[in-house]
């Protein structure tokens, strides 16, 4: 468990940002991962008072505040209806309800964790990240950025994707995933495929597949795309096993997309 000397319940993004400029300050999200560290923190910055705990549907998509919990992602009816339960399917295997009532989307995304189921879904849905003070950046770009002293404000999920499907494999229930696979169908019919927990952070699989692609095309392009992608070994599985799993789970996710119903938008 970390140790902290001061606690700041930020009243504005400006205040949170100013306090976060010191290297000894840390923004606290759901605290589920931070508590595992043994750091000495001067100031804990809490964003709880900034109203960032809501999911809002706008004309362009969904705006998800950084303090929204994984449980909110799981139970938000409108969000899950729009994306065929992709968010619920992604977060449900994560530990338990009590954990998901604590863990936040902001913590998951800011951490850029390789094991993150949430990042894999967001990447497939072409999500964007709103940072203070930089503004909105694509999630793809954010995942490559170094950790800095900005404040993650919200996640923006556009209606670019019509459908999404999530598949994951765990060695035991509630454990970290061995692999996460997400497929989404964009408005132009193209498929956007993501493999996460490789165990590196989630990344796009390079294919030109569409919703109309044949089984042979899917097989061939997945084989090629996954050969180009880096996989590694750890105690949960070997690189070779993960590459094989990615192919199996992505095929299942694509099949799930074809069986699912289209997003009303």
């Amino acid at each position: 468990m970390f140790r902290a000397k001061q606690y700041l319940l930020a009243q504005s993004l400006e205040e949170a940002y100013a306090a976060n400029q010191k290297r000894t300050a840390t923004v606290v999200g759901g605290m589920c991962w931070l508590k595992m560290s043994n750091r000495q923190i001067q100031t804990l910055i809490d964003l709880s008072a900034l109203g960032l705990d809501t999911i809002t549907r706008t004309d362009e998509g969904f705006s998800i505040g950084a303090m929204v919990t994984l449980r909110q992602l799981e139970t938000d009816a409108v969000l899950n209806e729009t994306f065929q339960n992709a968010f619920a399917d992604a977060v449900r295997p994560i530990v338990g309800v009590q954990f998901r009532n604590c863990a936040t989307i902001g913590g998951s995304v800011w951490g850029r964790f390789g094991f993150s189921d949430v990042i894999a879904v967001l990447l497939a849905l072409k999500a964007k990240v709103e940072l203070y003070p930089t503004g909105v950046v694509e999630l793809d770009d954010f995942l490559q950025m170094p950790y800095d002293n900005q404040i993650l404000v919200r996640i923006l999920v556009p209606f670019t994707a019509k459908k999404a499907a999530v598949q994951s494999h765990r060695n035991t229930a509630t454990d970290f995933p061995v692999l996460v696979a997400v497929a989404s169908e964009l408005a132009d019919g193209s498929l956007r495929l993501v493999a996460g927990a490789r165990p590196q952070k989630a990344a796009l699989v390079n294919t030109t597949l569409t919703a109309q692609s044949s089984a042979e095309e899917i097989e061939q392009q997945l084989e090629n795309g996954l050969q180009q992608m880096a996989f590694c070994s750890n105690m949960r599985g070997s690189a070779e096993y993960r590459r094989h799993l990615a192919k199996v789970l992505l095929k299942r996710a694509i099949a799930q997309l074809k069986e699912g119903t289209a997003n009303a938008d």
Partner: protein, 154 residues
Amino acid sequence: MQIELKLNGRVCKADVSPDMRLLDFVREQGCASVKCGCDTSNCGLCTLWLDGKPVLSCSVLAVRANGHEVTTLEGLQADAAEFGAFLSDEGAEQCGYCSPGFIMNVLAMVKELPDPTEEQIQHYLAGNLCRCSGYQGQLRAIRKYLLAKQEGKL
């Protein structure tokens, strides 16, 4: 830091350090049912309700409970005893160490899902680990408890 919250229905004021966990705070207030099991946010033993929602008190700062309502097993004794009787009838509390967190989560589930399916029960309680029972006795106890509630026997 001064915090003021409602703990099991009574207003509670205290001076806490910024890094104090809610788990340690409620234990200092005499709620010994809340225990630290894994300390890695995995086992569910430290479950309590924060504004009616089950959370892991090992992963919540005490300062974050300021102005909120905290409920532990001590505040739900009648309901806990009622469900606990079903647990013991099914032999589902071998060592009993996980029972406080488990009961807190079952009561939260019943509040949220009055008539859960088997799958919903297993998903809801996935974050409560028990190293003795193999979970079958606990699932039997939950089914019988829910049935008794539906039949108006409780």
